[in-house]
């Protein structure tokens, strides 16, 4: 089997304990045939970057419902780059106010999703991002 499996790290940075969304998304990606590495709650940006490196993932998915995304996301982007993983696509879901989206996009984040986001849409957009 030489077809490349899409490997996704699903992580919850920061201190909030809302893990339903992360689990729903992890399961949806598995059902779409991807390999999902789930790291669990309360991950520091350093832990997430380290896991992304060791797992050689194609995608890092962050679930943040605490409101701390503007502090956490840039740090994670910075660490991924420092580790030589600039090609990794980053997706974010959770409670993200509209006004923060342009800045997150400018940081190089590929997709942003809020409450009620369709998992089919998420799967489709991850697949799309793998093509480029």
């Amino acid at each position: 089997m030489s077809e490349h499996m899409i490997r996704v790290l699903v992580a919850k940075p920061g201190l909030d304990g809302h893990d339903r969304g992360a689990k729903v998304v992890a399961r949806a990606l598995r059902d779409a045939g991807m390999e999902v590495i789930y790291t669990g709650l309360r991950q520091t940006p350093e832990m997430i970057a380290e896991a992304a490196l060791q797992e050689d993932v194609d995608v890092v998915g962050l679930s943040i419902l605490s409101g701390a995304h503007m502090a956490l996301a840039p740090r994670i982007m910075e660490l991924l780059k420092a580790n030589g993983q600039d090609q990794v696509k980053v997706f974010i879901g959770g409670i993200i106010p509209d006004e923060d989206m342009p800045r997150l996009k400018a940081m190089g984040i590929t997709g942003i999703y809020g409450p009620g986001a369709s998992t089919e849409e998420i799967v489709k957009e991850i697949r799309e991002a793998m093509k480029s």
């Binding site: 490349h4 045939g33 590495i37 789930y38 669990g40 991950q43 060791q54």
Partner: protein
């Protein structure tokens, strides 16, 4: 610098990328494995298996912490979880229990999906272990899929196999099957803080005794049980260790058991015997694959399929089909050498 050279120099990103190439069984991965082979053979491969939820990942977390405290040996973890048979996807969750290991450059954790293979590990788990071995990881811990059945594959791969049990879960004696005892080099009863530990321990001990009955001597034609039974030298009796993986209790004893087992392997010659058996079966499998490919390539177009069709319609048995194909005129033999008269 080539990827393998970077791996040998200790580049972690290169290592991670190589692990992917090897896991996907890509041509680059296979070439790298061949290149790295001369650097392998130093690592102690430790398998951790047992029923789902017995605490394998938590135990691995503690074992690695302890190894890193004891000396500067680099430790790798390969954690295998099942792939969905329907979609091929997987959620690999063993890392959740290994968060204490983050931030240590001497530790490398890699999650792996079983990708359709049964027996607790994936097709390329052994190859991943080889890459870690070559990269200087002296201890490689492999956590299998939690199935609790006869995970013989792990016993074949690992030098030392830990079987993890827990009270309450597989508590019935029937759950402690002979199969799992046969592969155990060290038995661990985890969750020793839970009620029923004594029961599990008793069940394990009696199964162990059944698996290895006391030796008997014949005296004047009558069988007599030797009372002060001493196993013959060079037999290994799996020790039973109790642990609480959530707080680290009992871990030092497990480490001690693993070290003793290692010593036994070395002094009894078992280490060499296992290595040779493993390398022999690996080589044989590769020879089989190569010959099969060569053979199929050398057959006339469609010969294999038409023989198969006849097998499907039961007009030819598989044995006859194989014999027929082996005798089929080969238009372009792979080797150019002419047959001697």
């Amino acid at each position: 610098m080539s990827l393998t050279q970077q791996v040998l120099k200790g580049n972690r990103l290169a290592l991670s990328r190589l692990l992917t190439l090897v896991e996907n069984n890509s041509p680059e991965g296979r070439a790298a494995l061949a290149e790295l082979f001369s650097h392998t053979g130093k690592a102690h491969l430790i398998g951790v298996t047992g029923s789902p939820g017995t605490g394998k990942s938590s135990l691995v977390n503690q074992l690695v912490l302890q190894y890193r405290k004891m000396d500067q040996k680099k430790v790798a973890v390969i954690a295998v979880d099942p792939s969905s048979p329907f979609t091929g996807g997987a959620v690999l969750g063993d890392r959740v229990r290994m968060r204490d290991l983050s931030g240590d450059d001497g530790v490398f954790i890699r999650s792996m999906a079983s990708r359709g293979s049964v027996g607790g590990i994936a097709q390329t788990t052994a190859a991943l272990a080889q890459v870690f071995d070559a990269a200087g990881y002296e201890i490689v811990i492999i956590e299998t899929v939690g199935a609790g059945q006869s995970e013989v594959e792990i016993a074949r791969l690992a030098h030392t196999t830990l079987v993890v049990e827990a009270p309450g879960l597989g508590d019935d004696i029937q759950a402690i099957k002979a199969g799992i005892l046969e592969i155990a080099d060290v038995l661990v009863i985890n969750k020793a803080d839970r009620p029923g530990v004594e029961h599990t321990e008793r069940a394990l001990r009696s199964s162990l005794e059944l698996a290895r009955p006391v030796s008997r001597v014949y005296h004047h034609g009558q069988a007599m049980t030797v009372k002060a039974h001493k196993p013959p030298p060079n037999t290994w009796i799996p020790p039973i260790n109790k642990t609480i993986a959530t707080d680290g209790s009992g871990i030092a004893k497990v480490i001690e058991s693993i070290a003793k087992h290692m010593q036994y392997l070395r002094t009894s010659g078992e280490w060499n015997a296992r290595e040779r058996a493993r390398l022999r079966s690996e080589t044989e499998a590769l020879v089989r694959d190569t010959l099969m490919t060569q053979f199929l390539e050398g057959l006339p177009e469609g010969a294999f399929e038409s023989a198969l069709e006849r097998v499907f319609s039961h007009s030819l048995s598989p044995i006859e089909a194989a014999q027929f194909l082996a005798q089929t005129e080969r238009p372009q033999t792979p080797r150019a050498t002419k047959e001697q008269p």
